[in-house]
C-alpha cells in the first residue's frame, strides 16, 4: 500500500489510566490463588471510557504535533460508549476541530492500525494535510474468564502529516491482510466477548501476523535485521515473543515495546502504545516494525523510520514509562465498582 506523498508522524500521545489491578486479585476471587500471565492490568476509573481516554491521548499528540488543523479524526475501538453515536465527534469537539472527516472504526484489537492506514491514505493522497488516528479501549473480560486477566485500558493517538522537517518518523510502508476467522467476537447486545480459547492462537493471531509481516518484507524488500525495534500486538505476554522468534526477530528488538506484562492487553491501543514506548527512546535513522492483530481476523504491518527531528519533538512527550510507573493499586472490589460490575 503506497502513498503518493510521503507520510510522517507529527506527534504521538498515550494515555494510561492511573489504576492497576494485580492479576493475583482476579485469581484470589475466581481461581483461589496464583496470578495471570501478566502481572497487572490498567483499569479505567468509573468516570473514564473510550471517549475520555481518546481525548487525553489526542491532546498529548496534538500538543506535540503543533498542527492547528486536522482533516480527519478516526477512533479505533471495540469499547464504544454508545452503540450508535460516534466517539470521534466527542474527540473533535474537545479538540475544537470541526471541518474534519470523523468516524469510529471497529476491528477488535486492530481498529487503530486500520485508522492509521486510512489517515495515511488521506494524507498521502494529498486530500488532507493532517489527520488523527486513535486506538483506545476499556475492554472487559467476563468475570473469571482467562480474558479477564489480560484486558486492560489505554489509548494511543497519532497525528500524521505529509512528511516534512518536523515529522519525527516516516511511515515508509504498510500492508493489510484479512480473512474471515471467528476466533473472538461480541454480539450487538452482549456485555462481554466470547472466544474460542486455543483457536485464537495458530489460525488467528499467528497466521495473520506472520502473513502480514512476510508480505511487508516481500513487497518492500525488508528483513528482520533491518529493524532496530519490532512491536507486535500483545494479547498476552507470550504471543508477541513467540511470533517475533518465528519471524526472525530477537528479544532485544521487541522488549522496549512489550507492555502487556505490566498493563495488560489494551486492545486497539496495544501495538500503537508499544510503538509510542519505542518512539520515547529511538534514535534518528532507526527503523521500527509495527504489526497489529485484530480478531475476525486481520493484521496491519508497517515499517516506520525515525527522522532527525525525533529528539526535539520528544521534549514534548509524556513518556509511556512515566505513565506506567505512576499508578495506584486497587483490589477486585474497587475494580468491580469502577467497571460497573457492581453499582448502587
Amino acid at each position: 500500500m503506497k502513498t503518493h506523498y510521503d507520510v510522517g508522524i507529527a506527534g504521538y500521545g498515550v494515555y494510561i489510566p492511573t489504576y492497576r489491578l494485580p492479576t493475583t486479585e482476579i485469581a484470589r476471587i475466581w481461581k483461589g490463588g496464583g496470578a495471570g500471565p501478566n502481572k497487572e492490568k490498567a483499569v479505567a476509573c468509573i468516570d473514564e471510557d473510550s471517549a475520555t481516554m481518546a481525548v487525553e491521548a489526542a491532546r498529548r499528540a496534538m500538543d506535540m504535533a503543533q498542527v492547528s488543523k486536522l482533516g480527519a479524526i478516526f477512533v479505533g475501538t471495540e469499547s464504544k460508549p454508545y452503540a450508535v453515536k460516534p466517539t470521534s465527534t466527542v474527540v473533535a469537539q474537545a479538540l475544537g476541530q470541526h471541518f474534519v472527516l470523523a468516524a469510529d472504526m471497529e476491528f477488535a484489537c486492530k481498529a487503530a492500525t486500520e485508522a492509521l492506514q486510512v489517515v495515511r491514505g488521506l494524507v498521502g493522497s494529498g486530500m488532507i494535510e493532517n489527520g488523527l488516528a486513535i486506538g483506545v479501549d476499556t475492554a472487559q473480560g467476563r468475570p473469571g474468564d482467562d480474558l479477564e486477566y489480560t484486558t486492560g485500558s489505554g489509548a494511543a493517538a497519532y497525528v500524521l502529516s505529509r512528511s516534512n522537517p518536523d515529522t519525527l518518523a516516516t511511515v515508509e510502508a504498510g500492508v493489510s491482510y484479512v480473512t474471515d476467522t471467528g476466533d473472538f467476537w461480541r454480539r450487538q447486545t452482549e456485555k462481554y466477548p466470547r472466544h474460542l480459547s486455543r483457536f485464537t492462537g495458530e489460525p488467528a493471531y499467528f497466521h495473520h501476523v506472520e502473513t502480514s509481516v512476510k508480505q511487508l518484507f516481500e513487497t518492500y524488500g525488508l528483513k528482520a535485521n533491518d529493524f532496530t525495534y519490532a512491536v507486535f500486538h500483545q494479547p498476552n505476554p507470550r504471543f508477541p515473543v513467540e511470533v517475533a522468534y518465528r519471524l526472525g526477530f530477537k528479544f532485544e528488538q521487541i522488549k522496549t515495546g512489550l507492555l502487556n506484562p505490566i498493563i495488560g492487553n489494551t486492545y486497539a491501543a496495544s501495538s500503537p502504545m508499544g510503538l509510542a514506548a519505542v518512539l520515547d527512546e529511538a534514535k534518528p535513522g532507526e527503523r521500527v516494525l509495527v504489526a497489529s492483530f485484530g480478531s475476525g481476523a486481520g493484521s496491519d504491518a508497517f515499517s516506520i523510520k525515525i527522522t532527525a527531528s525525533i529528539d526535539e519533538k520528544r521534549k514534548k512527550a509524556v513518556k509511556v514509562s512515566d505513565l506506567i510507573s505512576k499508578n495506584i493499586k486497587i483490589d477486585y472490589a474497587t475494580y468491580a465498582k469502577f467497571r460497573g460490575k457492581i453499582s448502587r
Binding site: D47, E48, A51, T52, V55, E56
Partner: protein, 130 residues
C-alpha cells in the same frame, strides 16, 4: 428539563473550559459573565482558560446528588486557574488524605454524569493533581 440539550449548548465550556475575556480590560472569567466584573464592559468574547491551577479548598462528599451515587465518595474542589479564575470541579485519581490546600492540579476530560445505561453520557472537566 432535558439535560441533554443544556449540556449540548455548553459543550465547549465543559470540554475545553471556554470562558470569556473582557475586550476592554482583558480580564478573564469562567463561568462566562455578561458584564465584566472589573470594568463593567459588556464586550466579552470567548476565550479558552488555562488548564492548570491550584486547590483553594476541597471536600470529600459522602452523600452525592441523585445520579452521582456510584461516584461516592466524591472529591470536590474550588480551583484557582493560573489566570486567577476560580472554578469548581471534581478532583479524581487520588484520595482525600493525599490532598492539601495549595496542591497543583490540571484539568482532565472525564465523564461527569450519565443517565443510566440507555440515556446520554455527559462529559466535561475534572482535575487531577500534578
Amino acid at each position: 428539563m432535558k439535560l441533554s440539550i443544556s449540556y449540548w449548548r455548553l459543550k465547549d465550556r465543559y470540554y475545553r473550559l471556554v470562558g470569556v475575556r473582557c475586550e476592554e480590560c482583558k480580564n478573564e472569567f469562567f463561568p462566562p459573565v455578561y458584564v465584566c466584573r472589573r470594568c463593567g464592559s459588556r464586550s466579552l468574547t470567548d476565550k479558552e482558560m488555562p488548564k492548570t491551577g491550584k486547590i483553594l479548598t476541597y471536600t470529600e462528599l459522602k452523600e452525592t446528588l441523585a445520579g452521582f451515587e456510584d461516584q461516592e465518595p466524591m472529591l470536590l474542589g474550588i480551583i484557582q486557574l493560573d489566570n486567577g479564575v476560580r472554578i469548581l470541579g471534581q478532583i479524581v485519581d487520588t484520595a482525600a488524605e493525599n490532598l492539601s490546600i495549595g496542591d497543583r492540579v490540571k484539568a482532565v476530560f472525564r465523564k461527569i454524569q450519565e443517565h443510566g445505561s440507555s440515556g446520554q453520557i455527559f462529559y466535561g472537566y475534572k482535575f487531577v493533581r500534578t
